[in-house]
């Protein structure tokens, strides 16, 4: 047994010490206290599970100590020792939350049995609590996953439906363009206004088309090419593409990795898209003078790529939403709110996962965890 988890509290030193010796002979280490104040002091250190408490003590009485214990350490179980004639104290004690009471003189085996019962109860309660916590976590995660899945289905459905009217708008605008080139419209009044408006329609069609196609982008399954990838090279590729932007924003972009780069079998083009996405996000979140660091680590069955920035961070209310489609904190028109949604879809399709840690005002860290070989879902 590691730390003593049993505390004996009694003002009669001889009695207490004798009891402690008997526990010692059974291989059960105990801590002793001669009065209530010492008892509470020891409890505050936090390793004690069960207290054997004498009711009749000078100063703070046993029942009063019991009340304090239950106030301050509700998880600690208390077994009361009462004098022969004072079972009333025992009953009172149980009402105040004691586990049980025994009358002096105590039969040692009986006491030991009670202590075991109390301890088992505590462990059971602890396990139940851990179980409940685990279940709560899993439920939360499942709700999030389901929510994401249904949002995804909805989003792709909407994207498909929008493509049709979009095609009509596009052909109509194109038709107007063709008409404007006709001889009989050469001297049309306010022609510039007309053309300007048409241009806006055309650029908006393009924007909407980009959104719907991006949204439907990772739905493709057949045209991904799995090959052996040097992760270090892949990261160099991706950082190379955003290096200029980092420079323009006066942000240090660097790679931190061991010399022998891990290799994985995966889809290099899709992974590069994910990396670009995360890198661009990191750069956008970081102020001038900050830094973005890309790390590569080999893991037991694959690798982990981390992208860490010293940016603004993500608030805890947003962090659960960042992987949802159309969630964006960028200004309208700058972000589609699809980058992380699509990235996560890609990485999960490749058998990996994306994790994120973030602290407001300090920065965010995204981790892409990839298996050595793609595991088809």
């Amino acid at each position: 047994m590691e730390n003593p988890s049993l505390l004996l509290v009694d003002d009669e030193d001889h009695y207490r010490e004798a009891l402690a010796r008997r526990f010692g002979r059974r291989g059960i280490p105990v801590v002793q206290a001669g009065n209530g104040a010492a008892c509470l002091e020891i409890l505050s250190r936090g390793t004690i599970e069960v207290v054997v408490l004498d009711v009749r003590m000078p100063g703070m009485s046993g029942l009063e100590v019991l009340k304090r214990i239950k106030e301050q350490h509700p998880e600690v179980e208390v077994i009361l020792l009462t004098g022969n004639a004072t079972t009333v104290d025992g009953v009172e004690g149980i009402k105040s939350g004691a586990f049980d009471y025994l009358t002096k003189p105590v039969e040692f085996e009986h006491l030991l049995g009670k202590i075991r019962q109390a301890r088992n109860g505590i462990r059971r309660a602890r396990e139940q609590k851990a179980d409940a916590e685990l279940r709560r976590q899993m439920e939360k995660q499942m709700i999030a996953t389901e929510r994401l899945a249904s949002l995804g289905t909805l989003a792709t459905g909407v994207a498909h439906e929008i493509n049709n009217p979009l095609a009509i708008i596009k052909e109509s605008a194109g038709w107007m363009r063709q008409l404007l080139q006709k001889q009989d419209l050469a001297d049309m009044p306010r022609r510039n206004d007309f053309e300007g408006a048409l241009e806006k329609i055309e650029s908006s069609i393009e924007r909407a088309r980009r959104i719907t196609h991006q949204l439907l982008g990772f739905v493709r399954r057949n045209d991904s090419a799995i090959s052996r990838i040097d992760v270090g090279r892949l990261v160099d590729d991706a950082t190379g593409l955003v290096q200029r932007e980092a420079k323009n924003r006066n942000i240090t972009l660097e790679k931190k990795a061991a010399s022998d780069s891990p290799e994985v079998w995966s889809d290099p083009y899709q992974l590069r898209q994910v990396l670009l996405n995360l890198l661009t996000n990191a750069l956008h979140a970081t102020q001038a003078g900050g830094s973005v660091t890309v790390g590569i680590e080999k893991t037991a069955d694959g690798c982990q790529i981390t992208i860490e920035d010293t940016g603004e961070g993500i608030s805890s209310e947003n962090i659960e939403k960042i992987f949802e489609p159309f969630f964006s904190t960028k200004t309208q028109g700058e972000g589609t709110g699809l980058g992380l949604y699509v990235s996560r879809g890609i990485v999960e399709k490749l058998g990996g996962r994306i994790e994120v840690d973030s602290r407001l005002g300090i920065g965010s860290c995204f981790r892409i965890i990839l298996p050595e070989f793609v595991k088809p879902k």
Binding site: T156, A159, H160, N163, N164, L166, A167, I168, I169, K170, E171, S172, G174, W175, Q178, I205, R209, T212, H213, L216, G217, V219, R220, R221, N222, D223
Partner: protein
């Protein structure tokens, strides 16, 4: 040079889309008919006045792929360009294996469409040319001994 018009049939259940695309293609010199279902498409092809069909994959009733199969069975020389949503690239590839000339993603770029239309038309012309030559040879052989 005088442009020889391509005879195009647009098949899409989106009436407005058919109307607008028809206007644009007619404007650049093609001969266009528009229909709104696979059944009407097949009926329209009976007259033999179509070179290329622009066929939407997603239609209620007989869908694009089904229509394509019938076209290739009954009118194998008619070329087909498929119109797809982005997520259904696989369907488009399947369609090309069934004999479609090419596919375009909605909303499509007009110049892409024109380019593919020309390619499809060319393939049909060349095929018809080969058939004509083969028929000539056949005719010569039959009458050759006289």
């Amino acid at each position: 040079m005088i442009k020889i018009p391509t005879r195009v049939m647009i098949v899409d259940d989106e009436v407005d889309f058919v109307e607008m695309l028809s206007l644009r293609l007619k404007d650049v010199g093609e001969v266009v008919t528009g229909v709104h279902s696979g059944e009407d498409c097949l009926a329209g092809l009976e007259s033999g006045l179509t070179d290329v069909v622009i066929l939407d994959i997603k239609m209620p009733g007989m869908d694009g792929i089904e229509t394509l199969k019938h076209i290739k069975q009954k009118f194998p020389l008619v070329e087909v360009i498929l119109l797809t949503g982005h997520g259904s690239t696989e369907t488009a590839v399947e369609g090309m294996k069934l004999g479609a000339y090419d596919y375009l993603m909605k909303p499509a770029d007009f110049s892409d469409l024109i380019y593919k239309l020309e390619g499809a038309r060319k393939r049909k012309d060349e095929q018809e040319e080969r058939i004509r030559k083969a028929e000539e040879k056949l005719l010569l052989r039959k009458t050759g001994g006289m």
